[in-house]
């Protein structure tokens, strides 16, 4: 299924994130599949990079665990081939890995080609400014993949324009300033940011700091077409790993958390409809 098809439905999309291979290849397959059972519409699957910038400690630790367990770009592609989910997978990573994959040929084309091959639908590249994204954009066009950009509350009008010209699939709206990590409240900057991009013709998914079904509900009510949740799920993986929990038990908890978030998001639409 393409990202367009997901967002074409009336329902808000639930977009969970996990780092591929955290804490092991095998367990991670189970976890990603559990997310789909819990109602994921798109999965943002992190390809871990050894020098991440400004990730919160939760995601940072997930990346470290995944790298330690042997995750590499090639393993990642195998993972995507092997994982049994039908919803679209978006690869979230750093430009370094995309660039390196091109080898002596250089550039992002080879990486994108391989990603298309295994069925990846799009990319979020944390450290690639839109103004420098043309080579990747071209490769994505060639192979029919989407390129998603992150908009922050502090993004200037100039940069918004650069992103708007190059974005496809959806736009990732960062709910607050700061590093990723589950927080207790949901920022009201969200509504303001959504307002600034309301006339863009791509769906708007909001992330950073969403932790509960209630948060998801409020975010949808603020106008989001989707909710992105990372740290709250990675926390469950981390606790399972530290507590030596059986994989099936952690998978169940992930599924339950996913369901909570998805139903919360759905309630958000209901409320919006009621208030009309």
């Amino acid at each position: 299924m393409s990202l367009d098809a997901v967002f074409d439905s009336e329902e808000p999309a639930f977009v969970p994130y996990l780092a591929a291979g955290d804490p092991s290849y095998e367990a991670s397959l189970e976890y990603v599949e559990a997310l789909e059972r819990g109602g994921a519409d798109v999965i943002e699957l992190g390809l871990p990079f050894s020098e991440p910038i400004a990730e919160g400690s939760t995601i940072q630790s997930a990346i470290v665990r995944a790298l330690k367990a042997g995750m590499t770009p090639e393993r990642y592609f195998e993972f995507v081939e092997e994982v049994d989910v039908d919803v679209p997978i978006v690869c979230m990573t750093y430009y370094n890995l995309i660039f390196q994959y091109g080898g002596s040929e250089g550039g992002p084309r080879k990486f994108v080609e391989r990603a298309a091959d295994v069925g990846i639908e799009g990319f979020v590249v944390v450290d690639l400014p839109a103004e420098e994204a043309d080579p990747l954009r071209e490769a994505c066009d060639e192979f029919g993949l989407d390129l998603i950009f992150i908009v922050a509350p502090t993004t200037t009008d100039d940069r918004l324009e650069s992103m708007r010209e190059r974005v496809s699939g959806y736009v990732y709206v960062q709910a607050r300033t700061g590093v990723t990590g589950a927080r207790e409240d949901v920022s009201d900057q969200t509504a303001q940011t959504l307002d600034r991009i309301s006339d863009w013709d791509v769906p708007k998914a909001v992330g950073f700091g969403i932790k509960t079904g209630e948060h998801a509900e409020r975010i949808v009510r603020a106008g989001a077409d989707g909710v992105i949740v990372g740290s709250a799920l990675v926390d469950i993986v981390a606790e399972g790993h530290e507590g030596d929990e059986p994989v099936a038990e952690t998978a169940e908890k992930l599924e339950a958390k996913a369901r909570e978030l998805k139903t919360g998001a759905l309630r958000g639409v209901g409320a919006a409809v009621e208030s009309e």
Binding site: Y95, F99, D127, I150, V179
Partner: protein
């Protein structure tokens, strides 16, 4: 795009998560403002004179010249307060941070020299200071850890990844993103996203300005070559910048570890490829290489983007200097001149030796970027001085 916006012919740039874009844009604007602000610059220069001990001598090392050939001049940054060139940059950025109303400084450090310089600036300007340092560096540069703590800085041990300089940068970037409002990340070299490479260059360029004038005065002409060690590349850029349009050749000695053809080195210019790391596009060592150098301050997988540009255009030449070559130079300078250089600096000296052996350059200026007191434990072990 130009160097004024952090673009070094395709290298550099600002490859950061969206939330860091705006704060860095602010910082770039503040920096563009202060370089034109005479009052700011005068205060900067005055602190460098009164507090840091500028200008530093250009010393004609006759014994060493006799031993290695040529005429070797040493730019004595090791005589600065704190024992390295790092103070130039630390004072500049701390002043800028104070101007911008920041209350807290954070920094990464490898050898502990930049951390020490930042701790000094933090004490001087009465700002909270936190230094991130890899566990392996805390072990091999203990004296600097004590110095930083004594001056009131918090030294936070970084235990992730390879527990070295790159990991300290990662941790500092995270802190920065989380505490953008009140915190200035005082980057220690000409690395990272714009504006850091050009900002650190500006604050370090005093080295070359002095050296150029001193050359004309003391030697009567410009040197044939300028030589420095290259970790991130700040002492090298600081020396080179003033000579950029002159007929002076540039040479940089990188942390060659066990050799550029080994898989344990920190020499991305000699043996690496184009890549994006820590917010900049630059040269980075290859994936199958483990970052390693005997010198903690050179033990970094990337390098400043301007050096990547200089390499590409041929303006400067870079070579991997092995641990052994550096230790050799460390001993030679100590014995010949009674000057103990930092292990980082020793890579620049070893590079100078090669330049004298392999080229017909006669008169060369070497940046003696720091003193070696901090390396005495490593040296004592290596040379069996106990």
């Amino acid at each position: 795009m130009s160097e004024d916006t952090g673009d070094f012919e395709g290298y550099g740039g600002r490859h950061v998560p969206e939330m860091l874009e705006e704060p860095l844009e602010h910082l770039a604007e503040a920096f563009d403002g202060i370089v034109r602000d005479e009052a700011f610059l005068e205060e900067f220069r005055s602190i460098l004179r009164q507090y840091a001990g500028r200008p530093t001598p250009l010393y004609h090392a006759e014994n060493l010249s006799e031993r290695w050939g040529g005429e070797i001049y040493l730019k004595r940054e090791d005589l600065l307060h704190g024992g390295a060139h790092k103070i130039n940059n630390a004072v500049g950025q701390a002043l800028l941070a104070r101007e911008a109303g920041k209350e807290r400084l954070i920094a990464e450090t490898g050898a502990g020299q930049h951390g020490t310089a930042t701790a000094m600036a933090g004490a001087l300007f009465d700002m909270d200071t936190e230094i991130y340092m890899g566990r392996k560096d805390i072990e091999r540069q203990r004296m600097n850890v004590f110095r930083m703590r004594l001056m009131g800085a918090t030294v936070t041990e970084v235990t992730r990844g390879g527990e070295g300089l790159a990991d300290a940068v990662d941790t500092a970037l995270e802190d920065f993103a989380q505490n953008i409002e009140a915190t200035h990340y005082l980057v220690g070299s000409v690395v990272g996203p714009d504006p850091f490479p050009r900002m650190v260059r500006e604050f370090q360029s005093v080295i070359g300005k002095e050296a150029r004038e001193q050359s004309l005065e003391q030697i009567g002409h410009l040197p044939d070559a300028a030589v420095a060690c290259v970790g991130g590349g700040s002492n090298a850029i600081g020396l080179f910048h003033a000579f950029r349009d002159d007929d002076v050749a540039f040479y940089g000695g990188e942390g060659g570890g066990e050799g550029a053809d080994s898989q344990r080195h920190a020499a991305p210019l000699d043996d690496g490829s184009d890549d994006v790391i820590h917010g900049m596009k630059t040269r980075v060592i290859d994936d199958d290489t483990e970052v390693h150098s005997v010198s903690a301050g050179l033990d970094y997988p990337g390098v400043g983007p301007e050096h990547a540009m200089f390499r590409e255009t041929g303006r400067a030449q870079y070579r991997a200097i092995t641990d052994d070559e550096a230790l050799d130079a460390f001993r030679t300078l100590s014995e010949e001149e009674g000057i103990i250089p930092a292990l980082e600096t020793s890579h620049g000296l070893a590079m100078a030796k090669r330049v004298l052996e392999e080229t017909d350059h006669e008169t060369i200026v070497v940046n003696l970027s720091g003193r070696g007191d901090k390396d005495m434990e490593t040296a004592a072990e290596h040379f069996d001085l106990g």
